[in-house]
């Protein structure tokens, strides 16, 4: 029993549309960041930077 040709075509068409749907939340998120000027990934970097010297001081002065 084989997959009908019409069904196959519809699956392929819908799969391409799905790729757009998968990407949509990411596109909308970055568009929001662009228009609002938010840069949440930089906050994480800052936290990491401030955390690093503290750990060094600890190891130097136990």
């Amino acid at each position: 029993m084989k997959l009908e040709e019409a069904k196959k075509t519809r699956i392929i068409k819908n799969a391409f549309l799905s790729l757009l749907l998968y990407a949509l939340p990411l596109v909308l998120m970055f568009a929001t960041f662009y228009f609002t000027g938010q840069r949440p990934w930089e906050k994480k970097k800052q936290v990491q930077k401030t955390a690093q010297p503290a750990s060094k001081t600890k190891s130097e002065n136990p």
Partner: protein, 321 residues
């Protein structure tokens, strides 16, 4: 406020979800919604499918998340934990549910995949246990589980918990034999809300239509309504059928009670029912057969008595006193 919602859903995802399933199960039995269709064989199928796959699949997922992903993507653990909760929620909800839509749809549309999903459709009743009535291989290859686990590894753990709680609730209620959506169709004031609801999430009416024993009869539609949490995918891809009614019969028209082990572990174990799709010499996909009286879950409506049309015209005269 968001913290409070997260806590509520976190609880729902833990013991809360178990309570929901238990309460629903008790209600379904109390109202006799299985209509004496829960035979010994069906009980075994439901209980085996509810318990055994969990013992196999959960360790596999844990190994994938804790061992496989760190070795494939060593520098990416929590790399995206800066993604705000709102966007993390949307990303997980779309990625998880759209992937499940495709997994489900392909098992209906690609003939050789059908028998891995058949167990989910074989029962002649609906109920909360139906959500986990699956062949173990179908559950093991649930592609959305692996995608979501990868997103959790990347740092979207909290949104994933929230999505899981909401999704579990919606799918359990959509499979339940309690038609909670009925008031939305009965009262005119609720119709606009019903219009939005039935196009957004799976409801008993749309999902029961997917589990119908018949298709293209105006109510039953097992060729579509594949959405799990969101029904929106069916609307977008043109696989939706909305009738606001519940099917007259559930299951598979030619089902004759395949053994629980064959339903749980096909193709490792085969059915002994002659002619079954799960039998050793079974057809990949069998054609529907006409339904018999005992297969009907809801009695068919009596057809209205036709008005007698007389061919002759009568000229009635007033009766003389």
């Amino acid at each position: 406020m968001i913290e409070l919602i997260k806590k509520v859903i976190d609880n729902l995802n833990g013991y809360g979800f178990s309570v929901l399933v238990l309460v629903l199960g008790v209600l379904e039995f109390s109202f006799g919604l299985y209509k004496k269709r829960w035979t010994k064989n069906e009980r075994w199928v439901d209980i085996a499918c509810f318990t055994i796959p969990k013992l196999i699949v959960k360790p596999v997922i844990a190994y994938y998340g804790l061992k496989v992903l760190p070795s494939i993507l060593p520098g990416f653990k929590n790399a995206f934990d800066w993604v705000p909760f709102f966007w993390g929620f949307i990303i997980i909800a779309v990625a998880d549910d759209l992937t499940q839509y495709w997994y489900h749809r392909l098992h209906h549309e690609v003939p050789w995949l059908w028998r891995f999903h058949r167990t989910h459709h074989s029962a002649s009743y609906m109920g909360m246990a139906m959500a986990s009535r699956q062949n173990v291989i179908y559950t093991l290859f649930f592609s959305q589980t692996y995608l979501t686990t990868a997103l959790v590894y990347l740092g979207l753990g909290i949104p994933a918990i929230v999505v899981k709680g909401i999704k579990g609730t919606i799918t359990t209620l959509a499979h339940s034999s309690i038609p909670w959506d009925k008031p939305f169709y009965q009262y005119k004031v609720l119709h606009p809300l019903a219009w939005v609801l039935e196009r957004t999430i799976s409801t008993p009416a749309t999902h029961h239509a997917h589990h119908a024993a018949t298709t293209d009869d105006g109510v039953g539609y097992y060729k579509g309504n594949f959405g799990n949490m969101f029904f929106l995918w069916d609307v977008i891809f043109g696989t939706a059928h909305i009738s606001r009614q519940y099917p007259k019969a559930y299951g598979i028209s030619h089902y004759e009670g395949d053994q629980w082990y064959a339903q749980l572990l096909w193709p490792i174990f085969k059915s002994k029912v002659p002619g079954s799709e799960l039998a050793a010499d079974g057809q990949m996909v069998r054609e529907d057969v006409p339904l018999q009286e005992h297969q009907l879950y809801r009695a068919e409506k009596q057809e209205s008595v036709e008005q007698e049309i007389s061919e002759e015209t009568y000229n009635l005269q007033p009766v003389k006193a």
